[in-house]
């Protein structure tokens, strides 16, 4: 037998056997869940997940994006077990389409919108609030894309509430999600931006910006819902993680990032 044939047979044997060899290894590390979460959770949920992992040994894999974008991915079969939205509508869309379990819908937090400027900005956002946007030095104002990001919709509503939509419409730039809106400000390309309070309060953002909390009456509440996905390959582990999210401990972690705990007085539906 020539060397070449030996080599090619070896290669074929490897190709046939290799997938079989790798299966047991994948199974042994199976205690994991895939979580898709709204971009405003990017810091808070990492802390929650790290805590949960330490406690249970279940690996929580996180992916962040605009709630609308994630919804669309789940509708198209993305391997997700739990979906944290930044609103209630997207989870309801998934439930209506049969992709999520309606019985598991839970309002885990209420988000807050803030107007954020870089630390070294001359704008006195803490005291003047929305009025700083009329300053001539503000050329670009970043918001999340209202087409698929709830924080973008909240920002549009707030601008309208203060009668600024017409005046400032031309200065708006859209981030793919609320994290990118924050990043546009952080990189100094936008002079102000509407971001999640969770971004302004994240440890990584300390000393990088100043903010003003947009009053709650200026935009519809950012009720944020979590739901279990129907085609989840890990339903038990996912349900257990959702149970943890309902504990006071998890709620406390979210509060530290500026989320309001859900008011249990009024029920969903």
């Amino acid at each position: 037998m020539t060397k070449f044939r030996l080599l090619s047979r070896g290669l074929i044997a490897f190709l046939v056997l290799a997938p079989g060899l790798s299966i047991p290894r994948a199974e042994s590390a199976d205690r994991e869940i895939n979580v898709a979460a709204a971009a405003d959770l990017s810091s808070a949920l990492q802390e929650v997940a790290a805590n949960y992992e330490k406690r249970t040994g279940v690996v929580v894999k996180l992916s962040f994006g605009a709630s609308g974008a994630l919804t669309q991915q789940i509708q198209n079969g993305a391997p997700v077990d739990v979906f944290f939205s930044a609103d209630m509508d997207y989870p309801r869309q998934l439930i209506a389409g049969g992709q999520a379990d309606g019985a598991t819908l839970y309002r885990y937090a209420v988000g807050q919108l803030v107007l954020w400027v870089p630390q070294d900005s001359p704008l006195d956002v803490e005291h003047k609030g929305m009025d700083v946007l009329l300053d001539p030095s503000v050329k670009k104002i970043s918001i999340a894309n209202p087409q698929h990001a709830p924080y973008g919709r909240a920002a549009v509503a707030a601008l309208k509430h203060y009668g600024l939509s017409e005046k400032l419409g031309e200065r708006l730039v859209l981030g793919e999600n609320v994290s990118q809106a924050a990043q546009f400000v952080e990189s100094g390309n936008a002079q102000a931006g509407f971001v999640a309070l969770a971004h302004a309060m994240a440890p990584a953002m300390q000393g990088k910006g100043r903010y003003w909390v947009v009053p709650a009456e200026a935009y519809p509440p950012l009720d944020q819902g979590v739901v279990l996905i129907s085609h989840s390959p890990h339903p038990e582990d996912a349900a257990a993680f959702l149970g943890f999210m309902k504990t006071e401990e998890a709620a406390g972690m979210l509060r530290r990032y500026g989320f309001t705990s859900p008011d249990l007085k009024y029920k969903l539906k």
Binding site: G68, A69, Q72, N145, V173, L174, F184, G188, N189
Partner: protein, 236 residues
């Protein structure tokens, strides 16, 4: 089913401007790469090729940071013009030039290198200036590479996504290109619009490339005929 015509106009405009600038910038750069004997030439070649391997998000991120008010370049531009470069058409043009640079320069340089050096020497001994030699000898002999470079730069800019997503800010009529528009429609589950725009982009790009390569084939054929006539020698 809404087709964002504004986005199409903008994208074509962007691709035309970027291709034109890449011809102006790319020709001398490619000439230098093809004919220079500098020892550190390979560094420039590697630098030019970098956008091929870099993810567009990396490129877009660097461009965004470079254009921002934290960078000297961004500050200088802001002091000079009074506004920032990110989220403007000019900003997109800068990002796209960097992104498509190798797709123009590499075919240019490859075709320059394949020109017979003896012809250049002959042109020089006949008293032609380097510039005259370039336009009368080098360019006509490497026209297929030039066409390929321009077509690639154009097509590459038409289909650009990552860089625009990072530095564009999705402003209708200013920075919302077709690829971003399609992405938005998909994210919002408007598949009908996404489908219509995607199909239109596909047909348009195919049409442009067919036209370019079709014309190119004809000129090549013409060149072959000319050469054959020439080879027969002067008519007596």
């Amino acid at each position: 089913m809404a087709i964002d015509w504004q986005a199409f106009r903008l994208t074509i405009e962007l691709a035309v401007v970027v291709s034109a600038i890449l011809v102006v910038v790319g020709l001398p750069l490619a000439y230098w790469i093809a004919f220079s004997r500098r020892r550190w030439k390979f560094l420039v070649e590697a630098l030019v090729a970098l956008p091929i391997v870099l993810p567009p998000t990396v490129l877009g991120f660097y461009v965004l940071v470079a254009l921002g008010s934290r960078s000297p370049l961004g500050r200088w531009w802001q002091a000079w013009t009074g506004h920032t470069l990110a989220f403007t058409f000019t900003g997109l043009v800068i990002g796209s030039i960097l992104y498509s640079l190798p797709f123009a320069v590499q075919p240019f340089a490859a075709s320059f290198s394949s020109v017979d050096r003896k012809l250049l020497a002959a042109s020089a001994t006949l008293g032609a200036s380097p510039l005259r030699t370039f336009f009368r000898i080098v360019v006509p002999l490497s026209v297929h590479g030039l066409v390929a470079g321009v077509a690639l730069a154009f097509a590459h800019t038409m289909g650009e996504f990552g860089v625009v997503l990072m530095v564009g800010g999705n402003i209708p009529g200013v920075t919302r290109t077709v690829s971003i528009g399609i992405y938005d429609q998909v994210q919002a589950s408007n598949y009908a619009s996404a489908n219509a725009m995607a199909l239109l982009l596909l047909v348009f790009c195919f049409g442009v490339l067919t036209l370019v390569y079709g014309l190119h084939r004809r000129t090549l054929h013409q060149a072959t005929v000319n050469r054959e006539v020439w080879a027969m020698g002067p008519v007596k």
